[in-house]
Symmetry: C2
Subunit: 457 residues, 2 copies
């Protein structure tokens, strides 16, 4: 029982920190000085914005570019950095706790010097809390990566802004703002017209994609790549699974979007072949959880919206700024089905065997995600009577902290705003804390019940 409490404390700690940050930013966004009109922002909108910023989602119930004052914009900028670092760190801490516990439980964990979460292994007692020093060290590493990558992305964006005639001050601010919004996978734009003039700029969009891609890989993968970029034999299974699944989803998604939208006059219909391919890849990447849009989402065909729903539900990498059930979760489930089809007793990938208890965690995460999305959809459908394609898209966008919208989010009543905010919150901290909570608790029993096999399927 006591073991249960200490074991679950990291996930409770995460929930507490997130809730406190959201309340703080709700307060800050409510201040008259934060809005461009100089009046206090309504509570529902301030709360929704705070959740969207701290959970690096990018959905909004107000016009983000025009509603906020300079103070408001700076709050957004700081908020997404805190949200991203916090998310990465907490997720990493939780991941560390999971690795440790599972490692202890399984007593089989192979050494892997490319995964930072493996660096802290050693003989620790079950239920031992993560030491404060470790958290500090992890936080510093994560923050440093974030600064380095964001500055690099900003440097890539800046000359383009200057060439396009953006004034120097705006160019600097917008470069850093876009960079932060890309790497943290938030997706707000500083201009009222969204990506506007940059919507067809290959250099600009490619740089944004790079930022989103790195952010969505997750800290363990970034860390591994930093140490062993070209020495793939040092890559851990997690790194390989994340990269391969991310790339497969990217190109499958892009192919589907190109196929379904090439003759849609409202979206890619007027583009030539190479522009269609590029914009399809951009759209596919943004559903990973970036949230920038170079087209109106509501103009997409229903079929493309459904493809986007699936991609957004899957989301980014573990311990990343991306949301969703995570690419490795999907990979594990797919590997399980593959093993079953082959009649193989083990799940295998890249010459490694994945222990079966990982499948149970993956399944719990999917069940949890599907339940949140289904309940949120049912409630919002009943509240708004809006069409299912729009409700499902915006709900999954919230759950996966993607931030793309069909326009529904901007038209919600106050109660519906709270429902969607709760969806973002659960989507962001939910699956991670759940995974931690379930992995950290262990029931020991001295006997096993007799086995019996139901028929399934």
């Amino acid at each position: 029982m006591i073991d249960d409490f200490t074991g679950r404390s990291p996930s409770r700690f995460a929930l507490l920190i997130f809730s406190a940050l959201i309340l703080l930013f709700t307060l800050l966004f409510s201040l008259p000085i934060a809005s461009s009109s100089g009046t206090s922002t309504p509570l529902a909108d301030a709360f929704f914005t705070a959740v969207s910023v701290i959970c690096v989602t990018g959905l909004s119930t107000v016009d983000m570019a025009t509603h906020w004052s300079i103070v408001g914009h700076i709050l957004v900028y700081i908020g997404v950095q805190i949200g991203a670092v916090g998310v990465l760190t907490l997720a990493s801490i939780l991941g560390m706790v999971i690795s440790r516990r599972l490692g202890l439980r399984a007593k089989l964990m192979a050494a892997s010097d490319s995964n930072p979460m493996r660096g802290h292994r050693g003989p620790v007692a079950e239920g031992q809390a993560v030491r404060l020093g470790e958290i500090g060290s992890l936080l510093a590493t994560v923050a440093l990566s974030l600064v380095v990558i964001e500055v690099a992305i900003a440097i890539l964006l800046f000359p383009r802004m200057i060439i396009d005639g953006v004034p120097l001050g705006d160019a600097i601010w917008h470069s850093f703002y876009y960079s932060a919004m890309a790497f943290t996978n938030t997706g707000f734009t500083p201009n009222a017209e969204g990506l506007g003039t940059f919507a067809n700029d290959y250099w600009f969009l490619s740089t944004l994609m790079l930022g989103v891609f790195l952010g969505a890989l997750g800290f363990p993968v970034i860390y591994a790549l930093k140490r062993h970029l070209f020495r793939t034999r040092f890559w851990s299974l997690h790194v390989k699974l994340t990269l391969v699944t991310t790339l497969i989803l990217l190109f499958l998604g892009a192919g589907a979007f190109a196929l379904l939208e090439y003759d849609n006059a409202k979206t890619f219909g007027s583009l030539n072949a190479s522009d269609t391919v590029f914009q399809s890849i951009f759209l596919s990447m943004m559903t990973r959880s970036g949230g920038f849009a170079s087209i109106e989402i509501a103009d997409l065909n229903g079929s493309s919206l459904l493809v986007a729903d699936m991609l957004m539900f899957i989301g980014g990498g573990s311990a990343s700024t991306g949301g969703g059930i995570k690419v490795t979760t999907l990979a594990v489930i797919f590997l399980a089905a593959l093993a079953e089809a082959k009649g193989s007793p083990d799940m295998e990938a890249f010459g490694r065997r994945i222990p079966p208890d990982v499948l149970r965690v993956a399944l719990s995460v999917v069940l949890w995600g599907a339940t949140i999305v289904a309940l949120s959809c049912i409630i919002l459908l009943q509240m708004t009577k809006a069409p299912l394609d729009h409700v499902l898209f915006d709900v999954i966008s919230a759950f996966g902290t993607v931030g793309l919208s069909t326009g529904l989010t901007g038209e919600l009543d106050n109660p519906a705003k709270y429902v969607l905010a709760m969806t973002m919150f659960l989507g962001r901290v939910g699956t991670v804390t759940l995974a931690a909570a379930v992995a950290a608790s262990t029931t020991t029993r001295l006997y096993r019940r007799p086995e019996e096999r139901p028929i399934v399927g």
Copy 2:
């Protein structure tokens, strides 16, 4: 390799029989004598009807009550019986093969005299084909159950028809027709106006529900209940899981429908409390895969449609006339998540431990089902540009062989009819044959790869 072929032969046999039956009935429905107009029915409609009848789905692209002649109606009546018996038998045979193989593989299968699939255990060689005599005996038992139950249901319906003033000849024919459509979970009605005058008749609707309920439980459960109706200690885990999950879903669904529809003027808005409760239970039961409707499906709120989608996707019991991923599949996945949350090493239910390989089969079935539904939805959305709620509903109705429709199916173009027919076919034979195919094939390997644990969630 040879073991692989013989092991998979039952599922290939099932596919072959189903395909042959569908082609035969396509031919028969194409004959001028089968239609009330005396002209040949277009191929797409004849094929769709044949698939719908043999897969006991109940969706239609023509007005079933008026389009067909008496010969056509008799073909439908015979077709659903063959489809139901065939489905039950083939599913049972496949289930038997699975039980055997898994039993051999696990070498742990507990004796359970209440499951007919367990009656054939014994020392059999891996890959041994099911003997023809066993198929015959199983077929006879299934056909007998079907006749006994359908006659009983018809006897319950008949006096009501007479009281309601239906002419004697019609009353007899309609009693047997409704009975067959209920127990086989097909859901066609003999009248042009659907349930019409019976839409508020408690006795009539309750009898239909009883038929649908028994059909959707599945043959192994019916068999067990026949032998040990009131001796629950003889019930196998499969029987208990099926009954409990079915009842939980029935009442959860009914509660959701009552809550979401009680103030919908087009559906339950004008009903009093007890009628609302009764109609909610009826609707919930019909999504199990019965397919009768006492209201217009398109009048339901979007939220209720989504609830219905979820219920239809789950479907009925294993080796039943119901479709979907099956209630035990859901139960196993839920039990796995529960075990994970409790930190328990084993999935447990009713004092029994469920071996972990059952989870992998369940997961494969769900992944297979979700893939079929997603692909079918994307294709039909692109073909029809119809709203997602209608497309999703009719696709899941087809996959789960439910037969309820928002009206979309009746308006499809010919190519779309074939897509939906394929969805019915895959939904009906797909999960069962997949389950058989995956369980029947075994890869043996002399070494195991080193273990490594990716991060999920």
